[in-house]
């Protein structure tokens, strides 16, 4: 469904992605791993439309999307959850969900039910400012917000980064619950999460795709994966 075809991406004159190609089949959950600065965030941002490749193409269901603005990419069914866990902190939790519902044209009640099914505790703080949520709750709200409107493709950048083990369990449960219904590209450094959820893994190094792992035995072997980080 998604094809990234030998793209180069630069920040000004500094080229950070070199000839990167990945692809995603319908219903797959693919993980991208790699050291800090490998270019994982840059790759997701480029697919989401926030950066333009200087070379190469990106296509979604056969249509080129690399020239589109981020909001246009989103309207074609792609949702990007950034690494910084930034919610709209001045709005309430409900307000955050409301904007997603408004943007996706989904009725508010349905959107609220969708997000609360991921995390029923939100019921108690729908009227609270989202700025008061914990890191884990923010991430769940962001993922929930992204699921509103039933997107085709989710791009999630390091969902468990900086979270306590118990909260990582919540995120893991949510991601595995989504596995059958959406396609996703997830950047993640927690290899136990990666090995339990990945259909395939791309390993990035210095702005290139270093390896692609498809063999389930290799994917399960976290000790082996460790070598790439």
């Amino acid at each position: 469904m998604l094809e990234v075809n030998s793209i180069d991406v630069a920040y000004g004159h500094a080229k950070v992605l070199h000839d990167v190609s990945i692809k995603l089949n319908q219903g797959e959950m693919v993980f991208v791993v790699g050291r800090n600065g490998a270019g994982k965030t840059t790759l997701l941002k480029t697919i989401a439309g926030f950066l333009k490749p200087t070379q190469g193409q990106i296509s979604l269901e056969g249509q080129g999307i690399s020239g589109l603005a981020p909001e246009q990419v989103a309207r074609r069914g792609v949702r990007y959850v950034a690494q910084d866990k930034k919610v709209f902190s001045d709005l309430t939790v409900k307000g955050n969900i409301e904007l997603a519902a408004y943007a996706a044209g989904e009725p508010l009640e349905q959107a609220l039910a969708r997000v609360m099914s991921l995390y029923p505790k939100f019921k108690d703080f729908l009227q609270n400012k989202a700025g008061g949520l914990s890191g884990g709750q923010r991430e769940i709200l962001l993922i929930g917000r992204a699921l509103v409107g039933e997107p085709k493709l989710l791009l999630i950048d390091e969902p468990t980064e900086g979270l306590a083990a118990i909260v990582i369990q919540d995120i893991f449960r949510i991601l595995s619950g989504m596995k059958e219904t959406v396609s996703g590209i997830i950047v993640e450094q927690n290899l136990s999460v990666v090995s339990r959820l990945a259909d395939r893994i791309y390993i990035m190094k210095e702005g290139k795709i270093e390896r692609e792992l498809t063999d389930p035995a290799e994917i399960k072997n976290t000790a082996e994966l460790e070598n790439y980080l």
Binding site: E71, V87, G95
Partner: protein
Amino acid sequence: MIDTILYGLTIGAILYIFSIGLSITFGTMQIVNFAHGMVYSLGVYLFISFLPWTLRIFPLAMALAIAAMLPVAYLIERFIIRRLYGESLDYAIIATYAVLLIGADLIKYIWGTAPQPVSDPIGVPLVVLGVVIQLYRVVVFLSAVVLFFALRIFFTRHVIGKIVVAALEDRDGVRALGLDVNKYFSIAFVIGSGLAVLGGVLYAPITTSEPYMGFHILLLAFAVVIVGGMGNLTGTFISAFVLGMVIAITGRVYSSAADTMVFVVMALVLLKNPIFSFVRRLRGRPAHG
């Protein structure tokens, strides 16, 4: 004393109404928008011209002047402000300053340089504790308070208001949901411009209008926005009244220092909350729109 307080509240009200748009543009687009002063002064001159045609019905002439300036504001946003997003701060200052100068020249060309007085539309004096005050000034103050609550409701209840609030904080997050932030900033910009005209018209009977009136209020409004926090509408409300009182009280003691004191207060605020963070915020915007 009462008249000094009322004067401070009146000036605070005008500064608040004018500064809202400036604060939103600072906060959303990170652009220093001098063109706001042009919208303000041209709007007031249109109002003055409309007055005789509307049988001197003040609110009607005011509504017409605001309506006339909305398309102008839209064009400024669409063809100048939006193109400056993500460009260097200096370009924004130069381009919008040019608009301000063109506005002043246009006014001189059409209406001449003579100051234009407008008479008090209510003209009812009140006696409070033995002091005569003008009812009109009370009305101006109350208008600002009503506006403050109306905007609060808009920004907390209406979905467009919420989008603007969200975009003030995380522009990319709003775009990632599939919303075209430019469209909402444009709406906010036009509302802010309409309010600048409203402020200018309300101020016209208290002062006299002249072609460079936009320059003067802009300087004061920048102080209001910096003291109140860019994009912080409650902060803008409070700082407008604080600075309005500073102007009124200083003016009573030593009138030529009134405006200077505003900048002394601004300097104190910046010293506490260093200017570097202000400049960094303006400079540290993304290179990609």
